[in-house]
């Protein structure tokens, strides 16, 4: 057999040696050119339209420097009582909001799964999720602070509400993705709807539900430090006060504590999730 011949016997034709992946989205070359040039033109004009006040940027850099300087010599002691009160508030609000959020999210999540719920229940649960997800935490916090006054109760309500949107949606999607045959097998034994849920569905989604809950705990703690800024209590309120008073050393201490706690929660939730699989 001469070189270049293939074993399949198709020896008389010459095949191309080059190949390019065909375009997948804009298949028409003319349109492709038009669309890409339009994007480039828009980017150019958009960048040109941004006004930058360079002297203000310079001033900001100086302030930033002071902030970093404070951050590098954090002062834990002079505001420690405020910090500890803020921390306890934040942690309490995080934990209670996560637990309450999970308890409410589970039934909503099940109701929002097409394969478990009738159409009307699906639509109702999906709308609850949509409302919860479309409102950013800070907006909800402002609303609850206006309703119930300053303090961690407003924060607790905010985080619970946000947890519902997050967990129910992901739980619902998880339930929709489960192995149908396992559910079918349980249903075929004559099990009731609730029994199908605990024997066929729960074992399949439980590890992920626990993982998501831990992840949400982590998010809630971080959010609790943000919503404090609009008056919903917790460590965020303490941080806000420190920055308002130009006490960057105390602010640095608070940030370090937040980072530390997030790291601990992140690491331990990762450990637990790995053990659950």
């Amino acid at each position: 057999m001469a070189t270049g011949e293939t074993v399949t016997g198709a020896t008389h034709r010459s095949y191309p040696t080059g190949w390019k992946r065909p375009p997948q989205i804009f298949t028409d070359p003319l349109w492709r050119r038009i669309i890409f040039s339009a994007i480039a033109l828009y980017l150019f004009l958009a960048v040109g339209s941004v006004e930058v006040n360079w002297s203000r940027v310079w001033e900001g850099l100086e302030r930033g420097q002071r902030f970093v300087a404070g951050f590098l010599v954090p002062d834990f002691s002079s505001r420690w009582t405020d910090i500890s009160i803020g921390l306890v508030e934040s942690l309490t609000m995080t934990l209670t909001a996560t637990v309450v959020g999970i308890i409410i999210s589970v039934p909503i999540g099940i109701g929002a799964a097409t394969n478990m719920a009738p159409k009307w229940m699906y639509l109702a649960c999906r709308s609850i999720i949509a409302v919860s997800r479309s409102l950013q935490e800070i907006i909800i916090a402002i609303f609850f602070v206006a309703m119930f006054g300053f303090g961690p109760f407003a924060g607790f309500l905010t985080l619970s509400f946000a947890t519902i949107g997050f967990l129910s949606k992901l739980l619902a999607e998880d339930i929709e993705d489960i192995d149908k045959s396992q559910v079918e097998a349980i249903r075929a034994t004559g099990a009731s709807w609730m029994q199908v849920l605990i024997y066929g569905v729960a074992p399949q989604v439980m590890p992920r539900l626990v993982g998501l809950s831990l992840y949400r705990l982590d998010i809630n703690f971080r959010e609790s430090s943000v919503i404090g800024i609009v008056g919903a209590g917790g460590i965020g309120a303490t941080l806000n006060t420190a920055i308002d008073r130009y006490e960057y050393d105390s602010a640095g201490a608070i940030l370090l504590i937040i980072i530390g706690i997030v790291l601990v929660v992140e690491y331990s939730s990762g450990l637990i999730r790995r053990r659950l699989q």
Partner: protein, 273 residues
């Protein structure tokens, strides 16, 4: 006794999966259902316990028409019908014992099943069944820790835990090797004979069907095109069911499988003797 009368299933306006299927399956009769993919074998089996809703026709299991039951009544009747699945369909993260006990779900309350507090009788029976299928030592293992053949044995135990009056078996050996397939088929036919249990077995492997079934029903395009003894399944009949193929070659490879299995068995006997 199971009687199907003019069972029809239509998906959408044009897609007819089952066309006027009428069958009678007597007490203790094991029927193999063969046919090409898409012939309606799975649909037929799933119509019987109404995992798929039949479009028309009746399904009489000892004079109860399964096709016309309300939801609650259907649940009660489903308890009488055990099902063994392709790819086992065990709940993978539950233990073997929980999987077998799940066959009793139709008989226990929600709280009992939630707390795993099954009646003593059910538990004793579940252990006995695990012993019967040779998995007594594996009761506490998670189902996903077992091999394919073992999983299907759990599937068989789960179906039998229902103490059913009818067994539906959907491609029980689809993902098993030839030797394990034969062991599983043997186990299924044995337990059916022990209990006088009628069974419908979907099976895509014709030689396996001929080896283990007492009666074979051939389905093509949703219609029954053959119903008779396995011996009557000659090349002409197979061609009516499946279309033209080289049937002699298929039979030869099956004979080789059986021969090698027998050989192995003989060796094992020599070793143990």
């Amino acid at each position: 006794m199971l009687v199907l009368r003019n069972l029809t299933k239509q998906y959408g306006a044009k897609d007819v999966a089952l066309k006027d299927v009428s069958l009678t399956i007597g007490q203790g009769e094991i029927v193999g259902l063969i046919g090409p993919s898409g012939a309606g074998k799975s649909t037929l089996i799933r119509c019987i316990n109404r995992l798929v809703e039949p479009t028309s026709g009746s399904i009489l299991l000892d004079d109860v028409d399964l096709a016309s039951l309300s939801t609650g009544e259907l649940r009660r009747q489903r308890r009488r019908i055990g099902m063994i699945f392709q790819e086992y369909a065990l709940v993978e993260r539950l233990t073997v014992m929980e999987n077998v006990l799940s066959g009793r779900l139709g008989y226990v309350s929600f709280w009992r099943s939630y707390l795993r507090k099954f009646p003593a009788n059910d538990i004793r029976n579940a252990f006995a069944l695990l012993d019967r299928v040779g998995l007594l030592a594996h009761a506490d293992k998670r189902a996903d820790a077992l091999s394919g053949g073992q999983r299907q044995r759990v599937g068989i135990a789960r179906a039998l835990a229902q103490e059913p009056d009818l067994l539906l078996v959907d491609e029980p050996t689809a993902s098993l090797d030839p030797k394990t397939s034969r062991q599983i088929m043997r186990l299924i036919t044995e337990v059916c004979v022990e209990r006088g249990l009628p069974a419908i077995v979907n099976i895509h492997d014709v030689p396996l069907a001929k080896q283990f079934m007492q009666r074979i029903v051939g389905l093509r395009g949703g219609e029954v095109v053959f119903d008779g003894k396995p011996e009557a399944l000659n090349n002409d009949v197979l061609t009516t069911i499946y279309g033209a193929e080289d049937w002699t070659a298929m039979r030869k490879s099956h004979d080789e499988d059986v021969a090698s299995e027998n050989e192995q068995a003989a060796v094992m006997q020599q070793v143990s003797a």
